[in-house]
């Protein structure tokens, strides 16, 4: 800072001042409504997104293309030629809806691990927000709504691109968008809670290697879980991804074992979101309000 700069602004006064009389009125305004608080939080995360969207959008388009190339042309042609598809479906139509759910899981993981850790530890934005009239629940809600936005964007792009290249049999594919968002959220909310409980990023190694990667392989994405040993199958039932995969596949192909089963899948995913929310709120509060 040069001395001339100091000189030129020497007459500057702090605007407003502290006395109640001369105030602009906003310091003592009505308390913010719930909606205003959530919008303010979402506003921050969207401002951040405005800086980074170009990079992320390229990945959003590229990822379905890679999958279609590998699964449709590569693995799919092999499976269809040797086994005549899976349960009457071409392998591509079998696998693409499941991959919508799976990639939604990956997007959710990306948004709820290092990102969230950063707002706790690195730029401390959560703490900065809490020094204002915002509450922990506002911050959590606002951030999770932003995650919903990312999930919706990513899933929509994935479905559109995959549809363009013949990844779906019919319009039922549109159901994959809300199902993808719900599946992603069933991961994001509990992982928000997990992140709040972690002081370092070391725990993510275990999470990705022992939870996320095995889930991708053993949740019926690439083959029906009936192919697994019987003792392994209940594990799939307890994971959000299997429920998301089954829902997405059923909706896209129209091959649904029973409507009851579909509602059980939805209920299971909602349970992950609901229990995750209770844990996340508790762990966020414990970490931020000490």
């Amino acid at each position: 800072m040069s001395s001339s700069t100091v000189q030129s602004t020497a007459t500057t006064t702090a605007p407003g001042g502290g006395g109640r009389a001369g105030r602009g009125g906003h310091g003592t305004r009505e308390p913010l409504s719930w909606l205003e608080r959530i919008r303010a939080v979402v506003g921050y995360f969207l401002t951040v997104y405005r800086r980074t969207w170009r990079g992320s959008i390229i990945g959003r388009f590229a990822s379905p293309l890679f999958f279609l190339l590998a699964m449709g042309l590569g693995l799919g042609s092999l499976v269809d030629a040797k086994a005549g598809g899976v349960g009457g479906l071409s392998y591509l139509h079998f696998v693409v809806p499941a991959i919508v759910a799976t990639q939604s899981m990956w997007v959710a993981m990306g948004e709820s691990t290092y990102q969230v850790m950063g707002y706790f530890k690195w730029n401390k934005m959560y703490a900065a927000m809490l020094a204002t009239p915002l509450r922990v629940a506002d911050i959590l809600t606002g951030h999770l709504l932003t995650v919903v936005f990312h999930l919706a964007t990513a899933t929509t792009i994935f479905v559109a691109v995959a549809a363009e290249f013949g990844g779906f049999a019919g319009w039922g594919a549109l159901w994959c968008i809300p199902i993808g968002v719900l599946t992603g959220l069933a991961f994001a909310v509990p992982v928000f809670a997990y992140t709040a409980s972690q002081q370092t990023e070391d725990g993510y190694n275990i999470l990705f290697r022992m939870v996320v990667s095995p889930l991708m392989l053993f949740s019926g994405t690439f083959f029906p879980i009936a192919q697994l040993p019987v003792w392994l199958q209940p594990i799939a039932w307890a994971t959000p991804l299997w429920h998301g995969v089954e829902l997405a596949r059923g909706a896209a192909t129209g091959v649904v074992s029973s409507p009851v089963a579909a509602w059980v899948h939805v209920a299971a995913l909602l349970a992950f979101v609901g229990i995750g929310w209770v844990l996340a709120l508790r762990l966020f509060t414990r970490r931020l309000v000490a």
């Binding site: 006064t13 001042g17 602009g24 913010l32 205003e36 303010a40 401002t47 703490a127 009239p133």
Partner: protein, 307 residues
């Protein structure tokens, strides 16, 4: 009374960070918490800032209870924590715009206020730049500007100049003086004596979570120290060897031993120096200075503030 605390306590498990302090801060004053690291200053500030619940005692800010009215109190506060907590990937002005929304300011109000505050913080030239490459002093000023976005009646500054170079500190002090003149009540924590003397009308000295003294800087010096101090450095590994030779020298009331020097507390530094010379005590260097809050702290706790 803007802030009043009675028996305010904060514990973390077995550790007592704040041990039952009584504090009152009046509207319009600059009030300081002075003490070494770990004295409980930041914990106190976080309780006043309504981001950390008190473990015990009573705390009122604007007459309201943080446990009940935290968000309403925070709406009227400005808070500069020790860490800047800026989004360094965003621009200077974006950091202000975003913050305004948290207080429910409209977009137009926020933009107008941000323009004024950028001017106040001398950051108008850098408004469109990312925060990351800014100097420490600029980031600190931006944090202070941000904390003023809601026109707070009370501004909390936790170690505002720690880590800044002397010029950046003086610029910051100047900005804080302006705020004070405009009637913003300031609460400042610091472990810098000169900062406390410069900025604070009244302060408390904290040590181990307790308040050990309270008053204006001048009061405290009068009460706990002498008018002047003679600092003596000897060519010697252990300054304790020289205490006997110095004890009882003219005008002096006591001698304090530090690892690298002796401090002679006296009402007349020149008379003391002259008498030392007459006694044949020849130190490497002799410095006569006025008493500061550092001396008060040393007297009260037996330790220097910044080791």
């Amino acid at each position: 009374m803007l802030v009043s605390a009675r028996g305010l306590t904060k514990t973390f498990g077995d550790f007592v960070a704040v041990d039952g302090i009584d504090v009152e801060v009046r509207r319009g004053e600059a009030f300081g918490f002075l003490g070494p690291n770990g004295a409980g200053k930041s914990s106190t500030m976080r309780m006043i800032g309504c981001v950390s619940p008190a473990t015990g005692g009573e705390l009122r800010i604007f007459g309201q209870d943080p446990a009940v009215d935290g968000p309403a109190i925070r709406a009227r506060l400005g808070s500069c924590p020790q860490a800047d907590m800026l989004d360094e990937e965003l621009t200077v002005q974006e950091n202000l715009w975003i913050y305004g929304r948290y207080f429910g300011l409209t977009k137009a109000q926020t933009r107008k206020r941000a323009t004024e505050l950028l001017d106040f913080a001398q950051l108008t030239d850098r408004r469109g730049d990312k925060v990351e490459p800014l100097s420490g002093g600029m980031k600190r000023r931006l944090t202070i500007a941000r904390s003023l976005i809601n026109n707070p009646e009370l501004l909390l500054l936790d170690e505002p100049t720690t880590g800044l170079d002397p010029q950046a500190r003086h610029i910051l002090w100047d900005r804080l003086f302006r705020l004070k003149r405009q009637g913003v009540t300031l609460i400042i924590t610091t472990h810098y004596m000169d900062e406390a003397e410069q900025l604070c009308d009244r302060l408390v000295v904290m040590d181990h979570g307790r308040i050990v003294a309270e008053g204006s800087p001048r009061d405290l010096i009068t009460r706990y120290s002498t008018r002047e101090v003679v600092e003596l450095r000897f060519d010697s590994d252990d300054h304790a060897d020289h205490i006997d030779a110095v004890t009882g020298v003219a005008a002096a009331s006591r001698v304090e031993l530090l690892p690298d020097r002796l401090l002679v507390y006296t009402d007349d530094g020149d008379a003391t120096s002259a008498d030392l010379h007459a006694r044949g005590v020849i130190p490497l260097s002799t410095l006569v200075r006025r008493s500061t809050l550092e001396d008060v702290f040393l007297h009260l706790t037996g330790r220097t503030l910044v080791d």
